[in-house]
């Protein structure tokens, strides 16, 4: 039961972290494109 509860907390934390990570990755790619423009 306790592991089940903790499992949800881990899953939510991982989803939040992955969301932030993908956002940063996309921002980096976008910036590289913009920096190439004269």
């Amino acid at each position: 039961m306790v592991t089940g509860g903790i499992g949800w907390v881990v899953a939510v934390n991982l989803i939040i972290w992955t969301g932030l990570f993908l956002y940063l990755l996309r921002l980096g790619a976008r910036l590289r494109d913009l920096e190439k423009k004269p």
Binding site: T3, I6, V9, V10, N13, L14, W17, T18, F21, L24, L25, L27, G28, L31, L34, E35
Partner: protein, 220 residues
């Protein structure tokens, strides 16, 4: 290569999250699962300190070479330091509610981080109050250099010279580590990962600022 490093960071911090909840044991003397917040609270406070020191170093570099790149880097470091400092304060207050019965107790640790946030909040206010770019860069660099003395005092010295209910630091006053080894592993892993995350976000934010400045220069 950059992408590979980014994915390694994702893997690293994901392992820290899993480790914080499923690998590290609960600390003795804490209510329920409350000790697990330590693995997020301490790295955030650490990153806040690193950011403020980095801002001081970039400000010194600016005063030496007058390169606007260093001024931008210092300002972004302070912004991120304040953000991580607020997150550390909030996570600390949540823990205090469980352990001490109130979100805010004016404990020396709580007070010192608020003073640090006010100090760097004043830095941001100073920057936004000056319109002349050179004057803004020079004055805020001098202020951030002062932070090289203020930040270590507020983060490490003041909480140690006053009586505090706050749990001991990872390295206690006797210079020993008394924490369970798995907890130390997760805590150090989290601190290292969050430091890398800080430098990544810092790099992105500086580049956004540089592009914004380039764009505004085009319209001037």
């Amino acid at each position: 290569m950059r992408k590979l490093l980014a994915w390694l960071l994702w893997l690293w911090l994901s392992a820290v999250i899993v480790g914080a909840f499923l690998y590290a044991p609960l600390a003795k003397g804490f209510i329920g699962q409350s000790s697990r917040i330590l693995f997020f609270h301490v790295p955030m406070a650490w990153v806040s300190f690193v950011a403020f020191i980095a801002a001081g170093v970039w400000s010194l570099l600016f005063l030496r070479g007058r390169d606007p790149k260093h001024d931008r880097a210092a300002a972004v470091a302070v912004e991120l330091g304040v953000l991580f400092g607020v997150l550390a304060t909030v996570t600390g207050a949540l823990w205090a509610r469980v352990m001490w019965g109130a979100y805010w107790n004016w404990d020396p640790r709580q007070t010192s981080i608020v003073v640090a946030l006010l100090f760097y909040g004043a830095y941001l206010a100073l920057r936004s109050s000056l319109e002349d770019r050179d004057q803004r860069a020079r004055l805020s660099a001098a202020y951030a250099v002062l932070g090289l003395v203020v930040a270590p005092f507020l983060f490490f010295i003041m909480p140690r010279i006053m009586f505090s209910l706050h749990p001991q630091s990872v390295i206690n006053a006797q210079g020993k580590v008394e924490m369970e080894s798995r907890m130390v592993q997760v805590l150090l892993g989290g601190s290292a990962g969050c430091t890398a995350l800080f430098f990544w976000i810092h790099n992105l934010r500086c580049r956004v600022q540089a592009l914004a400045e380039r764009k505004s220069a085009l319209y001037e």
